[in-house]
Symmetry: C2
Subunit: 336 residues, 2 copies
């Protein structure tokens, strides 16, 4: 009933070889005679031996772990965005046989960079200092979805500006004039860029965007509901609306329908994310896909490269989001 500890030494004894040989077969490095290898493998199996990871890490001088630090906003685990990132990073870490140590930060309490070989920062908002601190100690670091140009640090991000512009182009292409938006948090770079790209296009190709057509959301359903209701009260209702996340878009659509509007006949809606959970709503949502999962995977590949010194200089990657046309957008009705 007590926890017995099988060590490499026990294996060595049973197989009648040195612990070095055992170590070698564990790590299958250099050459071990087949005869010994088999003996060792048998002993390992018989004893159910599992290496002590702490000892390995200590001896190797590496942690075999990468840290993921994320801001700890409430509901983070209910955000498609955050969860996809976590999934992707977890997945890639597993493939790289690395631990992922997940660290939710409030901006202070920094991660112990001593226990990880590198750190991935997702959406630095208030924790720029942490990034700088990591860089200062020479800890490999990488930032997801924030294009920081004034620091010698790698990042991998989605081109949210282009994404916003794509939406604007698509909507104006239908002939929409009264175009509104429910933005994401404008204090995040992603949210701001999405809006900026959208607005910039409209300024150039439409006739700008009215102030009353711009409402800031915070990615929550609740904020989307409020915003949608607010939009509905306007004298001149918009005929199309860009909503900065699929989940918000879905909630807005629900509000519209509750009020007797049809989507897209009465109002076109386009989201952002390509959240598969939003595929089974009342109508299939037109949206913009960001390759979150792949971005996360790419992030760990990159940082692993940095850790292993394969990559010498910062790598700054920008991925293009992609329009996904489904059923929630159409030309405006001709009774404006």
């Amino acid at each position: 009933m007590t926890k017995k500890k099988v060590s490499i030494e026990d294996v060595a004894k049973r197989a009648k070889v040195s612990i070095t040989t055992v170590s070698r077969v564990i790590n299958n490095v250099s050459t071990v005679s087949d005869k010994n290898r088999i003996k060792v493998e048998e002993a390992i199996a018989a004893l159910k031996f599992k290496p002590n990871v702490s000892a390995q890490r200590l001896a190797r001088g590496i942690n075999n772990a990468i840290g993921l630090v994320m801001p700890g906003y409430p509901g983070i685990f209910h955000s498609y965005y955050a969860v996809e990132l976590i999934r992707g990073i977890g997945h890639a870490c597993e493939a790289a046989r690395m631990d992922m140590v997940f660290h939710i930060t409030d901006g202070n309490n920094p991660i112990n960079s001593n226990n990880v070989d590198g750190i991935i920062f997702a959406d630095i908002i208030e924790n720029r200092k942490q990034v700088e601190a990591a860089l200062a100690t020479g800890t490999p670091a990488l930032i997801i979805n924030n294009q920081v140009e004034d620091l010698n640090v790698s990042y991998i991000a989605v081109d949210n500006t282009a994404g916003g512009a794509t939406v604007a182009e698509y909507l104006t292409g239908f002939g929409h004039k009264r175009i509104a938006t429910i933005t994401g948090k404008l204090s995040t770079q992603a949210g701001a860029q999405r809006y900026d790209g959208f607005k910039a296009y409209l300024d150039q190709h439409n006739e700008g965007i009215r102030d009353e057509y711009v409402i800031e959301g915070d990615y929550s359903r609740r904020s989307a509901r409020q915003a949608a209701e607010q939009l509905l009260e306007l004298n001149e209702r918009p005929t199309a609306i860009f909503i900065a996340s699929d989940e918000m878009a879905l909630e807005a659509i629900t509000v519209f329908m509750e009020n007797g509007l049809r989507v897209p006949e009465d109002i076109s809606v386009i989201g952002f994310d390509d959240n598969p959970a939003c595929l089974f709503g009342p109508v299939a949502l037109t949206t913009v896909r960001q390759p979150l999962f792949q971005m996360a995977e790419e992030a760990v590949k990159t940082i692993v490269g940095i850790i292993s010194q394969k990559v010498k200089t910062e790598v700054k990657t920008v991925l293009l989001p992609e329009l996904v046309v489904r059923e929630t957008c159409c030309p405006p009705k001709n009774r404006a």
Copy 2:
């Protein structure tokens, strides 16, 4: 640029004391003179020293980590249930200053019980063997939400049978006769118990439940949509329906509304979970709350007790779920 390593020895040198003394202040054990303590603390601060966790673990012979193993069904991260558990366990681990190593299992590839001091199994389905293996090596283990009576193992679970019965009682209390249900996965104990409790009550107090009124779902929105549509096609539509998760309930309500039904006037709906994300739908959902987060916290407290030998024998805890009345249930209309 290269990663410098500050060790306990550097601190000792700078503070002009032995490494033992440094170790003592790090762990604030036994007594250290104020004079020395201050010197050491200064040195630690000046050097930005952080203990090497692997070395600590190795020396102490403990891992300071608890493992969480969950079945790796697709969409796990989008499940309110799973995510609440993860959150709660993560939170409690942080409080207990333990790492949480998260292990998604496919039923095989067991967790390396060598790297954790104890293992929490959430929803063992096909991985009973893993639990037995852990038990066999004397690794402290605990199971969440599965009442396994035939193993000497601790568990903490919600009384799903009682939950199902509560729902049945509530619905029949309104005078409903045509009561349907969209169940969870019946292959999980929780799903089965929920249904069993529900059905048992109906058998005793109503007049049982018709076969055509029972549809098995799998917690996905898609399955809920299908089930709801199927129910709508029946000659005699049910007047009330118990749906085994809030998310499914929300999807079903959407389907009902799309078909011109009013909730609850035309059809009463009650969910299960008390998922806050379902608060902002078209109507506030009546549901049953399971204390997921607290259950998770309790789980780590318990296993920490087991690990530290404070707890000698298995502890089997069953929590009662609680009815949360909101707006989606009312008596049936009198035109049956």
